[in-house]
């Protein structure tokens, strides 16, 4: 485990922002930290990044309790991210990299490497305020990863990014993940969760309400729905035999008692000489799971 959250509690006055939350982030995974606004995600991230400390419970980074040196192993890109506007880009990155424990020489090398990669070598002497928003986002990303953190925490990394930067950063995240960096990914955008995450935890009202592997959760939440498209009409007794959930233009969605019975459905259709053009199991989207689970725990 790269990160282990154990019965963590954080209260502000009487308000419990994080209440007995536990979960593990496996090494090398892309981990989704999900939850509606005000659920306690930021409070949790701030504890992981050692900005604040938990009132109760423990947080282990790579098996060790969070300590003075932990920030050097974590890269954090907050949702609300800014830079010192009057500083030169190069100096700014050097400053942040050195604060993350790199020597001046290492910092120079790493920044140089990223500048080459992003083809922005001529930006070094530009002031931050001269850069466009998209350009600043690239700089923020470099600042987050320049010290080669073991754990990368990205809070809504794609908000405000244009499609080109989104793709670029997405690729870099994937690349970093492939080379061993574990990634915690906090977002509202469920399609990104499905696209990128291996594991998720869903926090609502400070509590852990759903946690596990993405595929396992999808299976757990599936309702054995199958969608069929055919050319020609369905047999007359189809509606008596099967539970039809919906029938949007031409396609039919059927709910089966359990998913192992999908072949029964196919066999019936084949036996009745129906020509099938499309057959699929409908898995719940994370959006649906999210809304259902959050609704249940309100």
């Amino acid at each position: 485990m790269i990160l282990s959250i154990q019965n963590v509690v954080k209260a502000y006055g009487n308000y419990k922002a994080v209440d007995q939350v536990s979960f593990d982030v496996p090494k090398g995974s892309v981990f989704g930290l999900l939850g509606p606004n005000g659920a306690g995600k930021t409070s949790l991230i701030r504890m992981i990044t050692t900005i604040t400390g938990p009132d109760e419970g423990a947080i282990l980074l790579d098996g060790e309790k969070l300590n003075e040196r932990s920030p050097e192993q974590i890269g954090y890109m907050p949702e609300e991210r800014g830079l010192y506007k009057k500083m030169k880009v190069g100096e700014h990155l050097l400053y942040l990299a050195q604060l993350k424990g790199l020597s001046l020489k290492e910092a120079n090398q790493e920044i140089d490497r990223w500048f080459t990669k992003f083809e922005i070598k001529d930006w070094w002497n530009k002031k931050v305020e001269e850069l466009s928003k998209g350009m600043q986002q690239k700089i923020q990303f470099i600042a987050t990863v320049v010290h080669k953190p073991k754990l990368l925490i990205l809070d809504e990394p794609f908000t405000g990014l244009d499609p080109i930067n989104t793709t670029l950063i997405k690729e870099e995240i994937r690349h970093l993940n492939e080379t061993g960096t574990s990634i915690i990914f906090s977002t509202h955008r469920m399609e990104q969760v499905e696209e990128m995450c291996d594991y998720i935890v869903l926090i609502n009202r400070g509590k852990n309400v759903l946690y596990g592997e993405v595929q396992a959760i999808k299976n757990e939440f599936k309702q054995n729905l199958f969608r069929i498209e055919t050319s020609g009409d369905l047999p007359a007794d189809f509606d008596q035999k099967f539970q039809v959930v919906s029938r949007p233009d031409g396609a039919v969605t059927v709910q089966m008692p359990d998913d192992s019975r999908s072949n029964d459905l196919l066999r019936y259709l084949l036996d009745h000489g129906v020509r099938i053009t499309h057959f699929e199991e409908i898995l719940p989207t994370f959006n649906e799971i999210f809304i259902r689970r959050v609704g249940e725990t309100q």
């Binding site: 954090y76 890109m77 609300e80 991210r81 800014g82 830079l83 500083m87």
Partner: protein, 439 residues
């Protein structure tokens, strides 16, 4: 390099490199130069040029009057008052001065009349009054047949020379208090100025980081306390740099000034008032020497070293409070003014106590309190230092200010770490009070 050092370095360098800093640092001494030039110009300026005044001497006592700066006296000759008045309206002369008959030699008040349609400038009016009064005095002396020499012996200049009874320390002279006042005043003013200016600079910088949203990135690398302390130290170093630069540059300006304009030192003095003899240059030189010897007598070692400690103490106390307030404020500076006021009030109050009480009596009860109370002492104690306060008071004051500095930096750190990450909330003092007890 340690993180704190990195932060201090950044805070220092970004400020020192700013155009506004460079311009401000260079221009202030130039401003001083301009100020001096204006003063010199003003003292040399003669309002309205020279006027010609005919003296119509009914009393026959003044005779001819020697000319004053800007006033020429003309004898009336055989002309009547009416004739002289027509000369005024005709523009040949500017006015007529009529000296009426003196009732008796015992008369203490005498009104003389000035005829003209133009107003007589106050400065000229004063000159004329003084001139006539002197003439009248001579006239009275002669009429009463008094011996001028004996009369002069009546005037004695008195000055108090304070002497210690226990015989400790050096003998004070009548200049001790004045010189102490000057040194103390300058130190109090520098303190006041630096604490206000650089304290607020720290506050604005904290607010900027918060509204800029850089702070969350920073917090994931350094402790809030490190960032706050680094900022305070960095800005303080900038302040010291500026003061040193100003001292050096102002020194250069003062040194170069005599080469740029020739100043007659006497013209820098306010106009001499009636009855007070003008300071004669030789005496003035002697006085300057005595002031210098008085300056030399000061315990500079103690004054400078304790000034530095008080400076650091005062700066840390107030700038950490400003930092705490800055962290609690949003981007709306106007709204935050209510939070700033309670910090600026003690600074201003301390300055007022020095200006209105300390100047009159540096050892009064209120001054003793002010020079011990850590929120006032950074301004009040350096002022008192020039008046040799009891050693235990200096020691106690130093100890208190150092303890208070540590306490306030710690306290501000508690507030800062919560405030800096809190957005979109209007903060009250009650709320800030709660933050101190968060874990």
């Amino acid at each position: 390099m340690s993180k704190l050092k990195l932060i201090i370095q950044r805070e220092y360098l970004t400020r020192v490199r700013k155009k506004s800093f460079i311009i401000g640092t260079l221009l202030a001494p130039v401003g001083l130069l301009v100020y001096f030039l204006v003063i010199v110009g003003l003292t040399k300026y003669q309002g309205g040029g020279e006027i010609k005044v005919a003296v119509f001497d009914e009393a026959k006592i003044v005779g001819t009057l020697p000319d004053d700066r800007g006033v020429r006296y003309l004898p009336s000759g055989q002309k009547t008052l009416e004739e002289l008045k027509t000369e005024v309206t005709g523009g040949q002369i500017d006015g007529v001065l009529r000296i009426p008959q003196l009732g008796s030699l015992q008369q203490k008040e005498l009104t003389v009349f000035y005829y003209s349609d133009n107003k007589l400038a106050p400065e000229k009016s004063e000159l004329i009054e003084r001139r006539v009064a002197k003439k009248l005095r001579d006239f009275k002396i002669d009429s009463l047949r008094l011996d001028r020499k004996s009369l002069e012996t009546l005037d004695t200049n008195i000055s108090i020379d304070p002497e210690k009874i226990t015989g400790e320390g050096e003998d004070d002279s009548k200049y001790t208090a004045g010189v102490g006042l000057a040194i103390g005043g300058i130190m109090a003013f520098i303190m006041f100025f630096m604490v206000m200016m650089y304290g607020q600079m720290v506050m604005r910088s904290v607010m900027e980081e918060k509204t800029n949203r850089i702070v969350e990135v920073m917090m994931s690398s350094v402790r809030p306390f490190q960032l706050m302390l680094g900022k305070i130290i960095g800005a303080g170093a900038v302040g010291l740099t500026q003061v040193v630069a100003w001292v050096v540059l102002s020194g250069a300006v003062v040194f170069l000034l005599p080469f740029i304009v020739d100043i007659d030192p006497q013209q820098m003095q306010p106009p001499v008032t009636a009855g007070q003899p003008a300071i004669d240059p030789e005496m003035a030189q002697g006085e300057a020497l005595r002031i210098f010897s008085e300056l030399g007598k000061q315990n500079w070692y103690l004054i400078v070293s304790s000034f530095i400690i008080f400076f650091l103490g005062g700066y840390f106390i107030y700038s950490s409070l400003f930092a705490a307030i800055g962290s609690a404020m949003g981007d709306d500076y106007g709204e935050g003014q209510a939070l700033v006021l309670p910090i600026t009030i003690p600074i201003i109050l301390a300055f007022y106590i020095v200006a209105f009480v300390g100047v009159r009596n540096p050892d009064s009860g209120l001054m003793v309190f002010a020079s011990l109370f850590p929120l006032f002492s950074p301004i009040a104690m350096p002022f008192r230092m020039a008046f040799n306060p009891p050693a235990w008071q200096i020691g106690l004051s130093l100890a208190l200010v150092v303890i208070a500095a540590f306490f306030f930096v710690w306290l501000a750190g508690r507030i800062y770490r919560v405030g800096i990450l809190l957005y979109g909330k209007k903060v009250s003092f009650k709320e800030i009070g709660k933050w101190m007890f968060y874990r």
